[in-house]
Amino acid sequence: MTLIRKPLSRRSVLRAGAAGGALLATPTLLTSRAWAQGYLNEPTGSTVTLGFNVPQTGPYADEGADELRAYELAVEHLNGEGDGGMLGTFSSKALKGNGILGKKVEYVTGDTQTKSDAARASAKSMIEKDGAIMITGGSSSGVAVAVQALCQEAGVIFMAGLTHSNDTTGKDKRANGFRHFFNSYMSGAALAPVLKNAYGADRKAYHLTADYNWGYTTEQAVRESTEALGWDTVETVKTPLAATDFSAYITPVLQSDADVLVLNHYGGNMVNSLTNAVQFGLRDKVVNGKNFEIIVPLYSRLMAKGAGANVKGIFGSTNWHWSLQDEGSKAFVRSFGQKYGFPPSQAAHTCYVQALLYADACERAGTFNPCGVVEALEGFEFDGLGNGPTLYRAEDHQCFKDVLVVKGKENPSSEFDLLEIVEVTPVEQVTYAPDHPQFAGGALGSCNSGA
């Protein structure tokens, strides 16, 4: 039996007290209220526990595995092991590589299964059983919104992983939840001008949209920003999440007079719909005297790999890409690549950054108290984490930073080299007012420390 096993700090101090107080059992009775001199899961020992809640089974398991690798790397760097990664390039110098507030960082992992119920169950077990002070991770907006609400209720911080729906920091925003990843609106705002330059202002777009929340917000965002630049939207069709063969949705596109197809799909949906669209010869088609084009608003390198050669020349947007040449990105790619042998995905990047940002906020606040952390993160401006100067906006807990417009590479030099950066859209162009109609409704509420 070793004592290093679990850093259940709140529990460990309790057991130290109880075990020391009497040899066998002087029962100590506590209520959650009685414990409330501090806050939920206050770390009082020499360690602090973070909860990494990522999809380990189901269709996004590979993305989840990459997130977990990034978290493990972040924990190493926070604890002063390895080469320090982005700690060296981060504009805030509060982190010293001695854990967080001098406490060694430990972690527990769980499986979201990409289902809101399972994700909440696993987050709850980390909070209740393992004493996690912060939950982070996830690879879909449904899970992010569900776990964010849970963390608000329980009184711990939630640092969202990959979640792109407007609602995460729109109508479903919560005071205890923070998102570094970009969102549907930003994708639309960044893509539209590039598309106009590449394909002209006189285009007719046909949207195929995954029939769930994220699909709706992405379709709306892309439609509104392209229409603002003169495009027409001919038709928008919703496709079932469970669809694997999209032929029945692609063939009507052939017969419409549309000359652009927008695939508001992610994951397996995106791989299949794009593959089908290319098979049906859409890219060889000429409509209204123009070449037919396909657009995938949200790109992910892992998914691009699944679509193989079909992604070549297709525009999309992404939060981050390993080929970026700023110091932060280079440092991160170097330490991730040296440890695992391949470059990190955008999911890995956002998760790594979220872990660092949380740790840094604790250092600057001088406490793990969620309310202190919220205060430290709100309005925080930083740089050196791969996306250029970035602001964590206080009104909705969304990060504002440059957005990458990318294109499937024509001649990839390796299996990781699938996307090339077309343009780095400056942050001003993707910034919106907190009460923008696409984000209307919902309120942050006040922070909850679980006390």
Partner: protein, 399 residues
């Protein structure tokens, strides 16, 4: 006692004691030991054991007694959950109306589905229920998003009306409560190296589950239960003797649907969110697995099956390589590496694999499920029963 015979009374009391002491029994390992990873005594999982236990007990009333294999019971649980969350959004955070309306809505929906599906039997019935459940799931996830919130799951918001209660307390959504007692409220008891958690929500679930279990025993032993068994053994003969079996099977279907709704209502009472995935066919399949794994047709088997599956889902999925290395930290590095390499595929992201293997082993070697295993163990220890004709724990469920 309570209208139960002696055997049932002792079974009931055994369950009462087990449920009441679960916070102790499920935390057998001291907090700081390596084995604490296997402790299941935290509120969320204990609540889940009971809630899925209720779900499985209800399912067993239909499947275990009549032999009708429904593949769509998760839909009733889902409908119940949605009704429950809507009560919390519109009326009050007190859980009683939420649970009550969950049962009512699930009952109505199961009446509709049952009335149509019970026109067929055997696998045709199974496919009909499956079709209804899959339709409910697909629509809830997509077109019905305004009512169900689709992908993100229906949850509470600060600006919900909550006519009887309050919309918000200091900028937070009020907690689900039972006449002021928050469901999250817990007492913690530290004894030596152990830490036990007693959670208000868990004990509410416990009371409801014991009531549900009691009702199930009464149904099993009643003339109505006999009638249902008759449906299973030979429906044709029943019809020839002039008994119309349909009202009985429909009643059983609705009752088990209401049990599912009750489980759904309790779920939102413990954690106010209703996700569409609750209605997917895999969720329906899960309750079938729980019931058969535990022992279909037995009283307590389905509860054990529910506990078994939920334990795997929540405990095994959380073991990662890091934990493994800590377990084996005393061993030489090379040996630890080998052990981790061997165990690695079965834990963490591989928990599905372990679960699949366990299914197969149990079905192959224990046709009557976990209950048969317990019975065999019991027979091993008490030799005097050996002479009795061994009765199969689970009467073969009809196809």
């Amino acid at each position: 006692m309570f209208g139960l015979d002696k055997k049932d009374t002792s079974l009931f009391f055994l369950v009462v004691v087990l449920v009441a002491l679960a916070p102790f029994l499920l935390n057998p390992f001291p907090e700081n030991s390596e084995l604490a990873q296997f402790n299941a005594g935290y509120p969320d999982l204990m609540q889940r054991f009971l809630i899925f236990g209720i779900f499985a007990i209800g399912f067993n009333i239909l499947f275990g007694l009549t032999g009708y294999l429904s593949f769509g019971h998760a839909a009733f649980l889902g409908v119940g959950s949605y009704a429950g969350v809507w009560m919390m959004k519109l009326l009050t955070m007190n859980v009683i109306p939420a649970i009550f309306m969950s049962v009512v809505f699930a009952g109505l929906f199961s009446l509709l589905v049952g009335y149509i599906s019970l026109r067929r039997s055997g696998i045709y019935f199974s496919i009909l229920t499956l079709a209804f459940a899959q339709m409910s799931f697909s629509l809830a996830y997509s077109v019905l998003t305004p009512i169900t919130a689709g992908e993100t799951g229906l949850q509470l918001a600060l600006d919900d009306p909550r006519i009887i209660g309050v919309s918000a307390v200091d900028g937070s959504i009020p907690a689900a409560n039972l006449f002021g007692l928050p469901m999250r409220e817990s007492f913690e008891l530290a004894m030596g190296g152990w830490l036990f958690t007693f959670n208000a929500g868990y004990y509410l679930c416990a009371v409801v589950m014991l009531a549900a279990f009691y009702v199930a025993i009464r149904i099993f032993r009643s003339p109505f239960g006999m009638m249902l068994r008759a449906v299973k053994s030979n429906q044709q003969r029943m019809n020839f003797t002039g008994v119309n079996s349909k009202p009985y099977t429909l009643a059983a279907f609705v009752i088990s649907g209401m049990y599912a709704g009750l489980a759904g209502g309790l779920m939102v009472a413990m954690d106010p969110l209703a996700g569409a995935e609750r209605m997917q066919w895999t969720a329906s399949g899960e309750v079938v697995l729980m019931t058969i794994l535990g022992g279909a047709g037995t009283l307590i088997g389905p509860v054990l099956g529910a506990g078994f599956i939920k334990y795997f889902e929540n405990i095994f999925s959380k073991i990662n390589d890091n934990v493994l290395y800590e377990w084996f930290s005393a061993l030489p590095d090379g040996l630890a590496d080998v052990l981790v390499f061997v165990i690695h595929p079965f834990i963490g992201k591989g928990w599905h694999l372990t679960l699949g293997i366990m299914f197969m082993l149990i079905v192959i070697f224990l046709p009557g499920g976990i209950m048969e295993g317990i019975e065999r163990l019991g027979r091993l220890f008490s030799r005097k029963k050996k002479s009795e004709t061994p009765s199969r724990a689970a009467p073969a469920p009809a196809e």
